[in-house]
Symmetry: C2
Subunit: 195 residues, 2 copies
């Protein structure tokens, strides 16, 4: 028996949480886990096939009107596979690919202005994420403990990044001003940031 693929895990989990169709799964992933574990249709539908072949899920046709629709549920083997994964010890995989940080890393190559623009772009995208998560947070009452915890952690992290970006920009601007003031006396006006 091949081990659960990465996408296989999300799918089993989402079906366990009540998702029925491939479409359903995608909706739920986009609403809940996409910030730390995304999935696309191009992965989901083929993977549903494989999981059924492996006997971990079972689907049956359940059309709504003239519209084809396949409803899936976990088999006993599927529940076992899911539990086995959740119970497995050993460090969980963790990967980040952050273009903003990469640019920041290389930012000595460019101008100080470029660096600040980049920090503002980072700030902006993480602030977006915060706003999305805050939307979800309003119905935290109807959530299980797991989803509540991940939401809380996500909010905390993205907020921390936003705040750090703000602080970094401010520090860089002050350094720039210090440097300018040390050379000669001119005026500069400060910007105000949206939020």
């Amino acid at each position: 028996m091949p081990p659960l693929t990465p996408t296989g895990r999300v799918i089993l989990g989402m079906i366990a949480l009540g998702s029925q169709t491939g479409y359903d799964i995608k909706q739920l992933v986009d609403k809940s886990t996409r910030n730390f574990w995304a999935a696309s249709y191009g992965q989901i539908y083929p993977e549903l096939r494989r999981l059924e072949e492996q006997g971990l899920i079972e689907g049956q046709s359940d059309p709504r009107g003239g519209r084809a629709r396949t409803v899936y549920e976990l088999t006993a083997a599927g529940q076992a596979a899911l539990s086995g994964w959740l119970d497995a010890t050993g460090d969980p995989s963790f990967e980040v690919r952050d273009e903003g940080m990469l640019k920041l890393f290389f930012s000595d190559i460019g101008t100080p202005d470029q660096r600040i623009r980049n920090l503002r772009a980072m700030r902006h995208s993480h602030q977006n994420t915060v706003a999305q998560l805050e939307q979800l947070d309003v119905n935290a009452d109807h959530m299980g403990t797991g989803p509540k915890l991940t939401l809380e952690l996500g909010l905390g992290l993205h907020r921390a990044i936003v705040e750090w970006c703000d602080a970094a920009v401010q520090r860089l601007l002050e350094e720039k001003n210090d440097h300018r003031d040390a050379n000669q006396h001119r005026d500069a006006s400060q910007h105000s940031d949206d939020d």
Copy 2:
């Protein structure tokens, strides 16, 4: 002209920072960016070829003794491509795949103990990362502003995750105790955590 590939960017950047060989690049990536942008030999060497074909870098054979060795440097076009990327506006890509959080999200499926074990596993792996970054931090004097900033942000983030995991575990344990105390009176001993 095809746009810079993801790995192409790191390679150009690392060469700009002074890396000379493919081996060099890999070493530097592993020491500096791998927590937010990794690269493997399987990507690096083929990509060096492509970048040379595109005229963005130029390599020349520079053996050390009987050992083959190719030293690369940026061409003018390569510097332009790198600057163009660093200067580009529009939100930078940002992706996370965090198995620990995914398990946490699904943790209502398992037992409370499983959830706590999972949180401890997360804590452990992020604490490892913190330790690695602290090693790098000791020679922060010799770093440019960019590397210093990414190091600082990385440290802050991973430390925040460690702390959040600790707090979450504690909260969950307290809830468990409250629940137990509400039913009947027994004793439980607390664990002590390594660090």
